[in-house]
């Protein structure tokens, strides 16, 4: 093996890679909060007394969790415009697919978290005259949010990794820039290794924090 590594190509194209990191971060920063919001609504739907709403919410969760994210993305970019008559830009299609996909997982976290609280908490709060939305906001969520934190951190990590599939429909994020640069520079080894390292540097702190958090919460509950 007499390959000579040449990382000058990374240094020369640093601004382009940095722009890619910016787009990746943008996708994540929009899709994650949006996914949590949709996730809460779906979780509440799944718990609702109405049979049809419950079935629809559970169907939504199953649908988005059992189809590969890349197929969802391709569907929203190529098939969705035919249904709606509106052509989405690659960026919007990617945001839509990433958000809806992550929201299905988020709703499962919310559902599990809310279900983990003893029924007595609900009954007590209702008994002193609170409405259901008040119980949820003032009694249930403050208690379970902390418990859900590690799961949400893991979800954020999965989402960060999933943003890379947006490159397939030509969103100019980190993976796309890395591939484009490795093609023009004829240095795929250095370029793709650098891209992998950049992703690791972006994502690993989150994973590390999630691990710490999980350990601390486990200690406290003992």
């Amino acid at each position: 093996m007499d390959f000579t590594w040449d990382f000058s190509v990374i240094l020369q194209n640093w601004p382009v890679l940095l722009r890619g990191v910016g787009v990746t971060a943008g996708l994540w920063a929009v899709a994650f909060p949006a996914a949590m919001l949709v996730g809460v609504l779906i979780a509440l739907g799944a718990r609702s007394g109405n049979r049809w709403v419950g079935a629809a919410a559970r169907g939504y969760m199953e649908l988005f969790r059992n189809i590969p994210i890349l197929i969802q993305l391709v569907w929203f970019f190529y098939a969705f415009p035919i249904v709606t008559g509106v052509q989405l830009s690659p960026y919007v299609a990617a945001l839509l697919a990433l958000t809806l996909n992550a929201s299905a997982y988020c709703s499962e976290i919310f559902r599990g978290g809310i279900a983990s609280l003893p029924k007595g908490q609900w009954e007590g709060a209702l008994a002193i005259g609170m409405q259901r939305t008040q119980v949820l906001r003032r009694v249930v969520l403050p208690q379970v949010l902390k418990r859900m934190l590690p799961a949400f951190t893991n979800r954020g990590i999965e989402l960060a990794k999933n943003t890379s599939v947006a490159s397939v429909i030509a969103v100019h994020e980190l993976m796309y820039q890395g591939r484009a640069l490795s093609a023009v520079s004829y240095r795929p080894l250095e370029m793709l290794t650098a891209v992998a390292v950049i992703y690791f540097v972006l994502i690993y702190p989150g994973a590390w924090a999630a691990g710490r958090l999980e350990k601390r919460l486990a200690l406290r509950s003992n």
Binding site: I71, V74, I82, K161, N162, P188, Y199
Partner: protein, 226 residues
């Protein structure tokens, strides 16, 4: 919205989609098998008790768990051949990418299972005169196995979904074949909806099978938020 659905084009090219489906299942099965081998090796290194073996294995696992799967595909296809001087076809590159990343996850599943068995079990087995490998095989592993099954199945499902990324290397999986059918029929809505439905139904059937298996083994307790 008065779009007239027309599935005749998709139906006419059902043999192409079938080829893709077989391709997806094949690569998933091979990658799980190779991934298990990788996972066992990595878990053994992690549990070896020797720092110079455990630490590289830990960093390998952490690196693969915290980088996007798509990067592994492109790296295996475009970068690895430069390093080893042999060009790889899409199938081999995809298997390498899938099995290394799932190996990293499987390793943690295996290690977690072994670690979860209490110390007393080890000590007891050693006290009655078993050698370490005997204690592992006869006492620890049978107990650890049951705990490994649910997360192992979870990871295998993730792997099956990840195979769709192999289409980006032009490997003839279900998604790649669907793209070909689409370029013939110009019916993206029908083609991609059918492909999504095929994936959904396949995973549904597999998950029913997995649940039955877990039930029979008496291990149907999935960890929260996994």
């Amino acid at each position: 919205m008065n779009y007239a659905w027309d599935f005749s084009g998709v139906w006419a090219h059902r043999d192409m989609l079938l080829t893709g489906f077989v391709g997806t299942m094949k690569i998933a099965a091979v990658a799980i098998a190779v991934g298990v081998v990788f996972g066992i090796v990595l878990a053994t290194l992690r549990l070896s008790g020797k720092r110079w073996l455990a630490l590289p294995a830990l960093w390998f696992i952490e690196f693969y768990r915290n980088t996007p799967p798509l990067v592994h595909f492109f790296w295996a296809f475009y970068a690895l051949p430069v390093l080893i001087g042999v060009s790889l076809d899409p199938y081999v590159a995809a298997v390498i990418a899938l099995s290394t990343q799932s190996g990293a996850f499987f390793a943690e599943v295996f290690r977690g299972g072994v670690v979860s068995v209490e110390r007393g079990q080890w000590e007891g087995a050693r006290a009655i005169g078993m050698k370490p490998h005997q204690a592992l095989r006869r006492v620890v592993l049978p107990q650890a196995m049951a705990r490994m099954v649910p997360p192992f199945i979870e990871r295998s499902f993730e792997l099956i979904k990840t195979t769709a990324l192999a289409s980006t290397l032009a490997y003839s999986d279900l998604l790649y074949q669907a793209m070909q059918v689409n370029s013939i029929t110009f019916r993206p809505l029908e083609v991609y909806t059918v492909v999504a439905a095929i994936f959904f139904c396949t995973l549904l059937v597999l998950s029913i099978g997995a649940r039955a298996l877990e039930h029979r083994l008496g291990v149907h307790t999935r960890p929260q938020g996994a």
